[in-house]
């Protein structure tokens, strides 16, 4: 099913000329109304009129999260505050959060794109959407909420936390669609098992999961444990919130980016050069319809690649591969780039091991050390020391083979790795404290 046939299946040529037109309008607007852009462009001697093709976009400098912080709270807004009807902010783990403002039309756009996303994920009127994304400054809850209402589904505004109550509501209200982070969906399954609730027997059929990178293997686990289809959704508050991209349920292979509203590019995070289509690098997004806070070439820090091949669902919008990490999360261990998601995929391939792990990075003298803590469950447990040592060695060797980095594997008791109800804390990097 397709929500907005006209735009979602627009032929590439028409889509690209629409993109160029909207890009040029956006550039004119930010140049006129946002000092940050005007000054930056003047400094390098470029004006909106110089951007005559989509390729010319590469001539413009990037916008960084730091630029948003520097203009805290409203410095990058392109409209006066009277026209802003909603303000969200991302949880800044360090210092001030990044603030985004939405005009009435931005909310309308967001609602439309979330509606497209829900329908692409197989949701429709008659569904009961259990929305466990957090409501509040975080964009997840309200973003999903508006889109679900637009589709005509019944929304339960659960927000996060209080897992036992979530399960009760899910059972009693007959939720058919779950929206939350992938790690929270597994946490729900775990608590259900503890409570003696057969989560597989519930009416849930689809999980629309996002806000953190997750692997294909984790998807398989979620689908098996909850007996649902798990669909990946992409978004970030700076750009819009959830609904920037979504996997279609037909293919479950790559997330369609709504290209009539965003222009995606992939760059090498080190050299900042645009990479050829298909190569893996950092996703950069330009918003081309946003009014409140348009962003030009925003560096998302998310690592992925662009897929331009046509999709079986009929949508013409390009896809991004599922995220394989964040360029920020990338750990550099003795000169080797390591993404937590890579460790996760190694663990999934070791028989009997659960994907519950934590990475501890320390610096001993001048040497970085990586410890991978892996929970021992009843499948991987043996009553013989040598078998467990063999397991730890096997994991260590696979990590060494795949990532080229030597680590220590420590087997730990189940649930000794802190479960969080939101994003899973996978990395504890103790090196930062020392600098």
């Amino acid at each position: 099913m397709i929500w907005n046939d006209d735009f979602e299946t627009l032929p590439r040529e028409a889509l690209e000329s629409l993109q160029l037109k909207r890009l040029q309008q956006t550039l004119e607007r930010v140049y006129a109304t946002v000092p940050f852009y005007r000054e930056t462009y003047k400094k390098i001697g470029i004006s909106p009129a110089d951007i005559k093709s989509l390729d010319d976009l590469q001539r413009l400098p990037f916008t960084l999260k730091q630029d948003m912080r520097d203009s805290y709270p409203y410095g990058l807004f392109a409209v006066p505050l009277e026209q802003i009807v909603r303000i969200h902010a991302s949880s800044g783990t360090t210092g001030k959060p990044t603030v985004v403002g939405y005009t009435r039309r931005d909310i309308e756009t967001w609602t439309e794109l979330m509606a497209r996303s829900f329908v692409a994920a197989g949701t429709h009127q008659g569904d009961v959407i259990h929305n466990a994304y957090g409501y509040g400054l975080f964009t997840g809850g309200l973003g999903a909420h508006y889109g679900a209402e637009r589709v005509g589904a019944s929304v339960i505004p659960m927000s996060g936390g209080n897992t036992k109550k979530q399960l009760m509501i899910m059972q009693d209200f007959g939720s058919t669609v779950l929206t939350c982070t992938p790690s929270y969906s597994l946490f729900l399954a775990e608590v259900a098992a503890e409570e003696g609730i057969d989560i597989k027997s519930l009416k849930l059929k689809v999980g629309i999961l996002g806000a953190e990178p997750w692997s294909e293997k984790m998807r398989q686990e979620i689908e098996a444990k909850l007996n649902i289809k798990a669909v990946d959704i992409y978004g970030l508050s700076e750009i819009l919130g959830p609904g920037v991209g979504i996997e279609c349920i037909e293919a479950q292979n790559g997330l369609h980016i709504w290209e009539d509203h965003f222009i995606p590019e992939i760059i090498d995070p080190e050299t900042e050069e645009v990479l050829p289509v298909g190569e893996k690098g950092e996703l950069v997004i330009t918003t081309i319809t946003k009014e409140g806070i348009p962003l030009i070439r925003y560096r998302t820090r998310d690592i992925t690649r662009l897929i331009k091949e046509p999709c079986i669902c009929g949508r013409t919008h390009a896809r991004i591969e599922r995220l394989s990490g964040r360029s920020d999360d990338m750990l550099i261990i003795r000169g080797v780039n390591v993404f937590p998601s890579q460790i996760e995929s190694v663990l999934f391939n070791v028989e009997g091991v659960e994907p519950h792990y934590q990475l501890i990075v320390e610096r001993e003298g001048t040497l970085d050390t990586l410890e991978v803590q892996v929970e021992v469950n009843e499948q991987s447990f043996s009553d013989e020391i040598k078998e467990l040592q063999h397991l730890a060695n096997k994991i260590r060797k696979e990590i060494k083979d795949l990532l080229g980095v030597t680590c220590k594997v420590r087997l730990v008791e189940p649930k000794s790795i802190t479960r969080s109800e939101g994003k899973a804390q996978r990395v504890i990097d103790n090196r930062q404290k020392e600098s």
Binding site: V376, E378, F381, L388, Q389, V412, E413
Partner: protein
């Protein structure tokens, strides 16, 4: 002749052993024999108890990783050479001992050795053929 032993995965940090024995004690489960094998990171606690199913259930409720294994118990005279004659029999019959541990009967004269084999049936047959007395499960758990 087989005895059910339960094994528990514990991290090497202080207090974990006491926690396990405390949980079992609270559930009214008496430990008949106990052995701890450990490395610098983790340990495996092996227990012989009267009601292994109940112990497994209680420990699982406390989020411990547990398993059940069949072992055998052999009574060995508590004097020099007692053990080596048994090991010789096993060796001669190519039976591999994965691990073993001993405890002394309350009555005094004999030690009971718990053996874990990779092939328990072969071990039982070799030992009985050579006249070694293998204890019944209830004989051990009632010690």
């Amino acid at each position: 002749m087989k005895v059910e032993q339960i094994s528990i995965f514990i991290e090497n940090k202080s207090g974990r052993l006491a926690e396990v024995t405390g949980i079992l004690g609270e559930a009214g489960i008496n430990i008949r024999a106990l052995s701890l094998a450990d490395t610098s990171d983790f340990g495996i606690l092996r227990l012989i108890i009267k009601d292994p199913e109940k112990a497994l259930q209680v420990l699982r409720e406390h989020n411990f990783t547990v398993s059940k294994t069949d072992v055998i118990g052999v009574e060995v005279p508590d004097k020099p050479g007692g053990l080596s004659s048994i090991l010789k029999i096993l060796d001669k019959n190519n039976v591999n001992v994965e691990y073993m541990y001993a405890f002394v009967e309350r009555s005094g004269d004999n030690a009971v050795i718990i053996f874990r084999f990779d092939n328990i049936d072969e071990a039982i047959s070799a030992l009985t053929r050579n006249g070694v007395k293998i204890l019944k499960g209830e004989q051990i758990t009632s010690i």
